[in-house]
């Protein structure tokens, strides 16, 4: 097969273009990590002492087969202050919100909630971050929407915003 040199060069360029465009677009098809790996899975059965009662409680028993929001927060986390008004708004709309207090000092957490008000029905303590790992949490704040069968239907990394609020309202 004796092709002209120019044709050979064109063929090589086409093959390389296809190959590199495949690599380029595959960079966007899957992100570096799957932050939403937990979506669609069942909520693990977690239990811990609570912030106010110091009694060991089970997350599923707090939820009582109701749709609810699970928020991971800490008093030292600045974005948690940013999202707090939206949590208050969700509480006003009648949503049950359960919190996990991540690697925090309980007295600081109480002060935080006194200052910004408490939107949470119950707050489980997670002093070593072990509950967070069971939920596939990357950092604080993180918010999960859980249906009445304890299935995680959505997750938001970072402070929740108006979009998330609207999404929760639509699910309701």
């Amino acid at each position: 097969m004796h092709l002209k040199k120019e044709i050979k060069i064109v063929i090589v360029i086409i093959i390389f273009s296809i190959f590199f465009s495949f690599l380029y677009f595959s960079m966007f098809s899957e992100k570096d990590f799957k932050p939403k790996a937990m979506i669609g899975k069942n909520l693990p059965n977690l239990s811990s002492k609570t912030l106010y009662s110091e009694i060991e409680k089970d997350l599923k028993s707090i939820a009582e087969n109701e749709k609810f929001i699970l928020n991971v927060f800490a008093s030292w986390c600045v974005p948690c202050k940013v999202e707090h008004p939206y949590l208050m708004k969700l509480k006003e709309q009648g949503f049950k919100i359960v919190a996990i207090n991540y690697k925090d000092n309980p007295s600081n957490a109480k002060q935080f909630l006194e200052k910004y008000q408490n939107p949470f029905q119950e707050i489980l303590l997670d002093p070593k971050g072990s509950l967070a790992i069971n939920l596939g949490v990357f950092g604080v704040p993180e918010t999960f929407i859980i249906d009445n069968n304890f299935k995680i239907i959505d997750k938001h990394i970072g402070p929740i915003n108006e979009n998330f609020f609207q999404k929760v309202m639509n699910i309701k």
């Binding site: 570096d32 790996a37 072990s130 790992i133």
Partner: protein, 116 residues
């Protein structure tokens, strides 16, 4: 005799603690710190990495195997938490392309050499 048992107990403790530490390090070196830029869990001191290190230590104490620990973390954080990913359709190019390049290169070199 009493001192011998005390010595034996201390010696065993040190040896087992050391092997657990080694296993923790080996596992965390193969885990990606997902909130860092190109660091492993072993190298990072972020909250995320510290949590994972503590978790791995606890699981080793509970006599969990390496596979069980990796499977749990893959379930919670996805396949990409492992530095050494398993073969899937989406990452097939990663495994096939180097072999393909080697084969094509070898053919080209062989043809050129035989032409001479």
């Amino acid at each position: 005799m009493k001192y011998f048992f005390i010595f034996l107990l201390i010696f065993c403790n040190i040896v087992f603690a050391d092997s657990k530490e080694k296993r923790t390090n080996e596992i965390t070196k193969n885990l990606k710190c997902l909130v860092c830029q190109g660091q492993s869990v072993y190298e990072s001191n972020s909250d995320f990495a510290i949590d994972i290190k503590n978790f791995v230590k606890q699981e080793i104490v509970k006599n969990k195997t390496d596979e069980e620990i990796y499977e749990f973390l893959k379930d919670k954080y996805g396949q990409n938490i492992i530095f050494n990913p398993t073969f899937t359709l989406s990452n097939s190019a990663l495994w096939i392309v180097p072999i393909l390049f080697f084969v094509i290169g070898s053919i080209l070199v062989f043809r050129r050499m035989s032409a001479k």
